[in-house]
C-alpha cells in the first residue's frame, strides 16, 4: 500500500494522508453493485469517488487497467507501506507512524503499481 500526503488527499481523507493500494481490474469484483457513487473530478486528473449516502471513498479505475482501493475499506489486510508520496506536505501534528517505507516517490501510476507489487525501491 502507499500513502499520499498531498493536500488533496488530506482533505479527501480528513487526516494526514490517504492509504490505498492498486490492483489489476481483472482481480477486482464488485460484490454489490455500486449504485450510488458520486464522482468529483479536477482538471488535473485528481478525482474523488465516494458513496453518495455515507461519504466513504470507494474503489475506482486508475491508470491503465488498475483499480484504486482505499485501505480503510479492507478487512484486516496486513501489507507494508511501500511508497510515500508528497511527504513534504506531511503536517507537523502527524506523528502517528514513523515506520520506514521502501520508496519515496514514483513517476506514474504504473510505476506505483510495480512498486507496490514488487516492493521495489524506486527513485523520486
Amino acid at each position: 500500500m502507499y500513502r499520499c500526503y498531498c493536500t488533496l488527499c488530506q482533505k479527501q481523507s480528513g487526516t494526514a494522508s490517504n492509504a490505498a493500494t492498486l490492483v489489476r481490474q481483472e482481480a477486482f469484483e464488485w460484490l454489490h453493485e455500486a449504485e450510488s457513487i458520486t464522482i468529483w473530478k479536477m482538471d488535473s486528473g485528481f478525482n474523488s469517488h465516494f458513496c453518495s449516502t455515507c461519504g466513504c471513498p470507494t474503489p475506482n479505475p486508475i491508470g491503465d487497467g488498475l483499480m484504486w482501493v482505499p485501505m480503510g475499506l479492507l478487512d484486516s489486510v496486513d501489507t507494508p507501506t511501500a511508497v510515500h508520496l508528497f511527504e513534504t506536505y506531511r503536517p507537523a501534528w502527524d506523528c502517528s507512524s514513523s515506520q520506514d517505507c521502501l520508496s519515496k516517490g514514483v513517476e506514474n501510476v504504473e510505476a506505483l503499481y510495480n512498486a507496490l507489487a514488487n516492493h521495489e525501491s524506486v527513485e523520486q
Binding site: 474523488s48 461519504g55 471513498p57 480503510g72 507537523a92
Partner: protein, 136 residues
C-alpha cells in the same frame, strides 16, 4: 486560535473560535471506512464553529450516537457530531495549513485499527475510548 478549513471543492468552508482540543486519532471501523485510513480530529463547542459555506454539507447518521459530515459534491471527510451535541469534531485534514497544530495526543479504538500500519508515536494509546479524550 482561529482555524479555517474547507472541503476540496469549496462547497463547505468553516472557521472556528475558541481553543481547539488537542488532536485525537480514531482508529474505529467507522472512521477507517469514512477516511479510507483513520481519522485525526480536533473539536470545538458547536457555537465556536462557523460554517462560512455549507451548501455541500451532508450529514450521515452513522450510528444512534453520532452523525458524520461530508461534502456531497467532492466527498471530503469533514465533521463528526455526537447526538449529545456538546462538541463537534473537525477532521484535521480539512484544516488550512497556515496554523501548526500540536502533535496527536491520543489514539483511540486501537482494537479496531487496520493491520497494515503501526502506531508507534509518543501519544497515549487506548484500545477503546480514552478516559478523558473521547472523539467528542
Amino acid at each position: 486560535m482561529t482555524l479555517k478549513g474547507s472541503c476540496l471543492c469549496g462547497a463547505v468552508r468553516f472557521e472556528t473560535q475558541g481553543t481547539p482540543r488537542d488532536i485525537v486519532a480514531c482508529h474505529c471501523t467507522q472512521c477507517r471506512k469514512s477516511s479510507g485510513h483513520f481519522i485525526a480530529a480536533t473539536s470545538v463547542a458547536p457555537e465556536e464553529l462557523t460554517l462560512v459555506e455549507h451548501r455541500g454539507l451532508k450529514w450521515y447518521r452513522s450510528s444512534s450516537a453520532a452523525e458524520r459530515g461530508f461534502c456531497q459534491d467532492c466527498g471530503s471527510t469533514l465533521l463528526w457530531k455526537p447526538a449529545s451535541g456538546d462538541r463537534i469534531s473537525i477532521f484535521a485534514g480539512a484544516i488550512d495549513k497556515d496554523v501548526d497544530l500540536p502533535p496527536i495526543v491520543s489514539h483511540i479504538f486501537l482494537a479496531e485499527k487496520g493491520a497494515y500500519y503501526d502506531v508507534d508515536d509518543a501519544a497515549e494509546r487506548h484500545q477503546a475510548t480514552g478516559a478523558k479524550l473521547t472523539l467528542d
